[in-house]
């Protein structure tokens, strides 16, 4: 595999920012689309005086401030926490989900670009993620995948004492690794098949590794997979773009686990609810 992506962080290269990196001027080519059914197109904008310390979204704020001043419609993009945890942000930057570093769009900083660069910005593209406006898409299909079985049924107040079921540290740690998926959708956006496999696999893995998750394990995987097909996501052919684009580094192993669980569940007679 040819990893063209830089590591998650770049350390120690900006303590003294070279003069040419201060106040960058950039050409932005941004997908503008007025609404879900409108036709969209790439529109070019110029922004000046971009500091390398700005986050990518702060750079877009600067652009939007300019647009509002000029009476134009600012670029719609989703964001909320701006610290890489809510999973709300996410755009294609120069053809890469969340841009050239393996992090969220909000945690990408402008020091990853050079003065004079042209940057292409597009929304996630997938039938299951219809565009709402410009760069904002509707990712509720993910919630419906969770609704199909991505939980442990435990009504409030019925839980046993927490220490009654010990969990080996190894399993707890692996479950945690899978559970860190923030539902951003970069995996779908990057996958040539527009498959949601990594997202679903992360949840199946998280719950499947814990003793609490066992009773519903077979039904969970069967139903979640059926739901992702119903939502119109593509099928996974193990290409691996998803994992390499995932800001939380959800591993390909989770997909293997899902497949393993699914085969086992089907053999055991589990069938999706219709």
């Amino acid at each position: 595999m040819t990893a063209t992506r830089e590591g998650a962080i770049r350390v120690g290269d900006a303590t003294d920012t070279p003069a040419e990196k201060r106040g960058m001027t950039l050409n932005l080519r941004i997908w503008r689309q007025n609404g879900p059914s409108a036709k969209g197109k790439m529109v070019t904008y110029k922004v000046a005086d971009i500091s390398p310390d700005m986050s990518f979204l702060e750079m877009l704020d600067v652009l939007n401030e300019q647009l509002i001043q000029a009476g134009d419609d600012p670029v719609a993009f989703d964001h909320d926490c701006r610290e890489g945890i809510c999973g709300m942000c996410g755009v294609m930057i120069n053809g890469m989900a969340h841009g050239p570093q393996q992090t969220t769009t909000c945690q990408l900083h402008m020091r990853s670009f050079k003065d004079g660069d042209t940057i292409d910005i597009e929304p996630w593209r997938a039938t299951a993620f219809p565009v709402i406006k410009d760069l904002a898409v509707d990712r509720r299909a993910f919630d419906r995948i969770i609704q199909a079985g991505g939980y442990i049924s435990v009504p409030t107040g019925t839980a046993p004492e927490a220490h009654s079921v010990p969990v080996p540290k190894k399993d707890a740690d692996s479950a945690f690794d899978a559970a860190t998926c923030i539902g951003c959708g970069a995996c779908v956006a990057a996958c040539p098949n527009a498959s949601s496999m990594l997202f679903t696999a992360a949840k199946v893995t998280h719950l499947g590794l814990l003793p609490q998750g066992q009773p519903e394990r077979n039904d969970r995987v069967v139903n979640m997979v059926a739901q992702q097909d119903r939502e119109g996501f593509g099928g996974c052919t193990n290409i691996g773009e998803c994992s390499a684009s995932c800001p939380k580094g959800i591993s390909m192993e989770t997909i293997s686990r899902l497949n393993h669980d699914l085969l086992g569940a089907l053999r055991a007679g589990a069938r999706p609810k219709s």
């Binding site: 962080i9 350390v11 120690g12 900006a14 303590t15 920012t17 609404g35 500091s51 310390d53 986050s55 702060e58 704020d61 600067v62 509002i68 009476g71 419609d73 600012p74 719609a76 989703d78 909320d80 926490c81 701006r82 610290e83 945890i85 809510c86 709300m88 992090t103 945690q107 900083h109 020091r111 406006k133 990712r139 509720r140 919630d143 969770i146 609704q147 991505g150 939980y151 442990i152 049924s153 435990v154 009504p155 409030t156 107040g157 019925t158 927490a162 220490h163 010990p166 969990v167 540290k169 707890a172 740690d173 479950a175 945690f176 559970a179 860190t180 923030i182 998280h206 609490q212 998750g213």
Partner: protein, 648 residues
């Protein structure tokens, strides 16, 4: 007392906690005495829950399970994105798994003391009792808490407590707890018990015959304004720290839901209590849109210092040991770098005010790991703090293994919020407020790892038990849009949207927000004085005036319009800011997160005035122009004795 700024109304009291039994029995007694709703009737009743954070998400799921018809609202695309997701450190619970002397009583005691004696004993005790159930619930849901090799749950100590009672999931405890609640909520949505309204913002509360009966909301995608009716309304819309523009809150965090409910009659309690977190990444430039918290745990091994000389611009590594001032270790030899948040924050501000701050603009202090790296070795430091160091490097482009990190305090949490009684009911019957949106459990200062505990306690356990007392009188008569109160609310919302769009001035909502935030930070921030607050109170009406005459909102009403969303939120922040300043001005004492320059000990520590201010300030809104009305709820301490905090 500056009577021109407010008037004083009748005192207010919580009448719901059963005071005739000892504190340890009050919660069970309340539950026993409260009326219940039988399952057949629950199906006939609708409950609106605004917010899907730890508080709202857990409440909606639990009420749905119980058989009520729940309608859930949130402004993001998915419930899983509520800002609870960002909490890093952990959640407290009095499990005493460490056998280190913890107990419900000790958690209760620590929280009352930590809140600088401005919280209600009853509420805090209940919180401590319920805390143990939260952990059971979360574990059963599959929350992957950190574990030890034996397979049992791990604990750490957090926020200056002497016991290890904090449960955590690496640096992402809030995320994992939220996903637990979110999954429970999605399960109820799938079961048809909860109706979901994603990307829908509550813009007003509908009060009919004195009862909260519904909300007016705007679909943020289509712009459609709709009404929703219910037998009770629950607000769980989070904190309002974004009044400062720069804070550790999410960009969308707002006061709109609670502020508009306040304008409909809900009292707003202690609005000036704001928590400033000491270990945040400093501001870089004026484009900065948000501040990022670095876990407090860094203070366990990092040493905080500034140069002794003011204006010392040498590289940190060039400054010799004897020219450094490890000021926390110097001033507080016993607690050193681990003093509570408010103290650490204020001292950082002090040294920066003296001109000894470091980094751009002189607003920062060093958090130095050189000594820790020498002592523990870099691999050990990496194992313990690696992800935080990475985050710092990602944001600043500096390598914290080589140069000390720079940190500065930032607004983090708001202890104030809508006033609620022991049942979590506001002054509007039928409207309940939970999570950070209410004022209830933390007094003037919140301890680390206690907000997650409170949100989940409220949502999973407290509200679902107490709301039945109110609903036992239901279902209430049907209301619809033709009711005058509803029609008036809808018209009001439409009106405001129209007004915002039609001003067509020259300034964006963001520019007003930034201006307001800076003013609040400078004049009503970490340290407040009569002078600064009066200055703020002069200035805020001017900002408001300019906002309503010179705002520019592009786009239309009937579409996805983020500028319009922002404008509405800023309008509310401006009004809230004024009330915060009035509250801060009237509270002529220092307590917890509220530090009045006039009220300090000779050593510069916060000085409470229990004689005059041992009360909750619950503010009533009055129509435009008239000053707000103060209702005092006296605080009494039966079990924890009033004492001055000392960390020397």
């Amino acid at each position: 007392m500056p009577l021109d700024l407010f008037t004083v109304g009748d005192p207010i009291a919580d009448t719901k906690a059963p005071m005739d039994v000892p504190i340890g029995e009050r919660w069970s007694t309340r539950r026993f005495r409260g009326r219940l709703v039988n399952p057949a009737n629950r199906r006939k009743m609708t409950i609106i829950v605004v917010g899907t954070g730890l508080a709202g998400g857990s409440a909606a799921a639990t009420l749905g399970e119980a058989g009520y018809k729940v309608k859930s609202f949130w402004y993001q695309d998915s419930p899983r994105r509520a800002h609870s997701v960002a909490a890093q450190g952990g959640i407290n619970a009095a499990k005493n798994y460490r056998n280190d002397g913890d107990s419900v009583h000790r958690l209760f005691y620590d929280t009352v003391k930590g809140g600088d004696f401005r919280a209600r004993e009853n509420n805090v005790h209940r919180l401590a009792e319920v805390s143990v159930n939260i952990i059971d619930q979360a574990v059963a849901q599959g929350v992957p808490f950190a574990r030890e090799y034996g397979g049992l749950l791990d604990n750490r100590s957090f926020g200056g407590t002497q016991v290890s009672r904090t449960f955590y999931a690496r640096g992402q405890t809030g995320q994992q707890l939220l996903y637990g609640a979110y999954q429970a909520l999605e399960r109820q949505i799938a079961a048809g018990n909860v109706e979901q309204h994603a990307r829908t913002e509550m813009l007003d509360l509908i009060v009919v015959d004195g009862r909260a009966r519904g909300i007016v909301a705007r679909d943020l995608v289509t712009g459609e304004i709709s009404t929703h009716y219910a037998d009770a309304v629950v607000l769980a819309s989070g904190g309002y720290g974004n009044v400062f523009y720069l804070s550790t809150n999410a960009k969308g965090s707002n006061t709109t839901a609670i502020w508009r409910a306040h304008k409909r009659g809900a009292y707003f309690a202690n609005p000036c209590y704001t928590q400033i977190h000491p270990t945040c990444i400093p501001v870089k430039g004026d484009y900065q849109s948000k501040l990022t918290l670095m876990s407090e745990s860094l203070r366990n091994d990092g040493r905080v210092w500034v140069p002794k000389e003011r204006g010392d611009t040498r590289d940190a590594r060039q400054i010799p040991e004897d020219e450094r001032d490890y000021y926390l270790e110097r001033i507080y030899p016993a607690f050193g770098n681990l003093v509570p948040r408010d103290i650490a924050s204020r001292q950082a501000k002090n040294v920066c005010d003296e001109g000894r701050g470091v980094g751009p603009g002189g607003l920062g202090v060093y958090l130095d790991f050189a000594e820790a790296i020498q002592r523990m070795g870099r691999p050990a430091v990496e194992a313990k703090y690696g992800n935080l160091f990475d985050m710092y490097a990602q944001i600043t482009g500096e390598n914290p293994y080589e140069t000390p990190m720079r940190i500065y305090p930032a607004v983090h949490y708001t202890m104030g919020g809508l006033w609620v009684d022991y049942d979590l009911q506001s002054t509007i019957p039928g409207m309940f407020v939970i999570g950070e949106a209410n004022f209830s459990d933390h007094g003037a200062n919140r301890l680390g790892a206690s907000a997650l505990m409170q949100g989940l306690a409220d949502g999973y356990f407290v509200l679902p038990s107490t709301i039945t007392e109110y609903l036992a009188d239901g279902p209430f008569e049907k209301v619809d849009d033709s009711h005058p109160a509803a029609a008036e609310a809808i018209a009001g919302v439409r009106d405001q949207v129209q007004r915002l769009l039609s001003i067509n001035g020259t300034r964006s909502p963001a520019s007003f927000h930034r201006e307001l935030g800076k003013l609040m930070w400078d004049l009503c921030g970490m340290e407040r004085s009569e002078e600064s607050l009066r200055k703020a109170l002069d200035r805020i009406p001017e900002i408001r005036q300019e906002f309503w005459t010179n705002l520019k909102v592009t786009g239309t009403e009937g579409s996805f319009n983020q500028t319009l969303e922002h404008a509405g939120r800023v309008a509310d922040f401006i009004e809230l800011a004024e009330l915060m300043c009035v509250d801060a001005l009237h509270r002529n004492e220092s307590c917890g997160g509220h530090f009045r320059a006039e009220s300090q000990t000779p050593e510069g520590e916060a000085l409470r005035d229990d004689e005059n201010f041992a009360y909750v300030a619950a503010w009533e809104w009055t129509p435009e122009g008239a000053p707000p009305v103060l209702h005092r709820e006296a605080l009494e301490y039966e079990y924890v004795h009033l004492a001055q905090r000392s960390y020397k």
